[in-house]
Amino acid sequence: MPKVEVQKIYKVFGPAPKQILPLLEKGEDKAGILKRHKHSVGVNNVSFAVEEGEIFVIMGLSGSGKSTLIRCLNRLIEPTGGNILIDGQNITEMSAAELREVRRKKVAMVFQNFALLPHKTVLENVAFGLEIQKAGLEMRRQKAEEMLEIVGLKGYENAKPQELSGGMQQRVGLARALAIEGDILLMDEAFSALDPLIRKDMQNELLSLQQKMKKTIIFITHDLDEALKIGDRIAIMKDGRIVQTGTAEEILQNPADDYVRAFIQDVNRSKIITAAAIMRNAEAIILEKAGIRTAARKMKDLGISSIFVTNKSGVLQGIVTIDRVSSLIKEGKEELESIIDKNIETISLETLIDEIIPLFLNTGYPIAVVDEEKRLKGVVFKSTVLAGIAGEGGENNA
């Protein structure tokens, strides 16, 4: 069951919105409705489903209905028609009290302009959702402190939001949303008000938080780079409709129409697509467990000429080649460690294709992809890079 399921949602603004629905169903478009019937169409027959733990990005030009759509999900804006299911429960049929319960416990929101309470301290702001739930003072303080630590704002508990920079204020906004420990985060252009460097930081931070927390995130942006970077799947909106839904690669490769094509035309794939997106599963042998013979057998089975070596916890040690393994065996020696080539190129999950290409000039080996702790995550071959530029995704995106 999807975590969030949106079924045929409409939102029409104006004096008699219900009467506009049949016209929309007949296929009249936003411009026509505005001209002939003086109603403004915010969302026009939108359906999608978001799986648990997924980051679903909605993008589109200004006025395409993104904010209206995301506000329908927790009924800050009352949809004119359609159903919204969260964990299978129909939000659109709930009473005010039931809806409040969902907003308190399940669905948290982060806003473009932070929307912090200026009369409360940072700590009180983070605890706001819990205060609304009438949680005890001590519990509120504890939870809020924990969340501030997570977003890296420890020590700012007693500051007022106005005293913080934009990036820090949005961390407070994020902490406030995390504090209620709901499963779903709605983020409406949450990073759009931040300058580019801070924005990148926040994107990375969101991604690393997401690795730990596994929330279901619906994220709005009008920035394609942001969408490609953080979205597991992306929906592109135009005039209140979704014109295409898919992964970044799917959209880059098969744009549904000229609108989408115009959207992505400036994308330099090599500047967008990262090692994480194109890398293949890396075969490796474990130093403590495997001997020289295992290494030889594994390379032979896989038909490859070199293999990475890691330690027990997956930390990359280097690479061994079939040639050196064979000569070692011929010499009758056993120490795998002595033939490991430790001087190899590694890249991180975020390294762009653009930065990977020159590395192949200096090395004959495939390039290892490692995380911050130097644990082996994947491998990039020359051929994968070319495929990445051409728009074919990797076989695994782990």
């Binding site: 927790n74 800050l76 409040r100 319960e101 969902v102 907003r103 308190r104 416990k105 669905v107 948290a108 929101m109 806003f111 473009q112 302009n113 929307a115 912090l116 309470l117 200026p118 009369h119 706001f128 959702g129 205060e131 609304i132 739930q133 406030r176 209620i180 709605l186």
Partner: protein, 294 residues
């Protein structure tokens, strides 16, 4: 036909007659209640020893506004006492306090109602305009009809005359709360009451305070005028000065009113906002410096 005067005045008169006849009990209850409040406040204020009173007010002035206001307060209050107007000043203050209190009790909910309900807003707004622009003296006449002479009709007229700013600025203050903050409160599951008391009212406080300040100032001016219908207090001194052609007396009374007005104005103005030079800030800075040193 066009020259015939509409009998508006006659109708108002008969309506008032009818009300005096039919609601006499109601008016007498209100009369007793108001008198009770005014007299209790006056009694409490008079019971405070002069010296203690002055020190307390001077401290308050320093705490919220700063040294300048504190010095002015000390000099002003001593002067009023020196002129022999202390008791009258206290009575005036009691009437102002009573009128302001009731204006708040009635005005705050009205302002909230206006902010939350478009229809209420449309109805109340012109009524407020009417209340505020009608010359103040006009309220004195029906007030006398219903409540006899003295402090009570004076206070009633004052309440009507002075209430609009509280209502208006409560409404404005709530409407001024940024839309996205309200949205955030709703998104986290606030009930309408939580939204009002945890978000909108706290953020409206500075604006409401500005309204309260205006209301107090209007109250004071009206309380003075109500000497014309027999209310005692500083107004009476001024009024006697006028009727007896006694310039000195009129001036002394007027000066006391001005001092009281400035005091109330400065102190209430600073209540809603942070004052850099206030004693509150002085103490806070001192403490922070000491903490930084240790």
């Amino acid at each position: 036909m066009l020259n015939a005067k509409l009998p508006l005045g006659v109708h108002v008169e008969s309506a008032i007659d009818w009300m005096t006849a039919n609601f006499a009990g109601f008016f007498s209850v209100i009369r007793k209640g108001l008198l009770g409040i005014i007299e209790s406040i006056d009694w409490v204020l008079s019971a405070i020893p002069l010296f203690v009173f002055i020190v307390a007010v001077v401290f308050l002035a320093w705490w919220v506004a700063g040294r300048g206001t504190a010095i002015f307060t000390a000099v002003g209050l001593l002067l009023i006492n020196n002129l022999g107007l202390w008791g009258k000043m206290l009575l005036t203050l009691s009437m102002v306090s009573t009128a302001t209190l009731i204006a708040l009790v009635v005005g705050l909910p009205l302002g909230i109602l206006m902010a939350k309900n478009g229809t209420a807003n449309k109805i109340i707004r012109p009524v407020l305009d009417f209340m505020q622009t009608m010359p103040a003296f006009v309220y004195l006449i029906p007030a006398v009809y219903f409540f006899d002479l003295g402090e009570v009709p004076g206070t009633v007229a004052t309440i009507i005359f002075a209430m609009p700013p509280v209502v208006r600025l409560t409404n404005l203050g709530i409407r001024q709360v940024p839309e996205d903050v309200v949205e955030a409160a709703r998104a986290f599951g606030s009930t309408p009451a939580q939204l009002l008391f945890k978000v909108q009212m706290p953020l409206a406080v500075p604006t409401i305070m500005a309204g309260l300040n205006q209301t107090i100032m209007l109250s004071l001016s009206m309380v003075v005028i109500s000497a014309m219908i027999g209310a005692d207090g500083l107004g009476k001194t001024v009024y006697e000065g006028i009727t007896q052609m006694n310039i000195g007396k009129g001036f002394e009374g007027g000066l006391a009113v001005v001092i009281l007005a400035m005091l109330l104005d400065r102190i209430t103005q600073c209540l809603g906002s942070e004052q850099k030079k206030s004693g509150k800030n002085f103490v806070r800075n001192r403490m922070e410096r000491r903490r930084a040193h240790s």
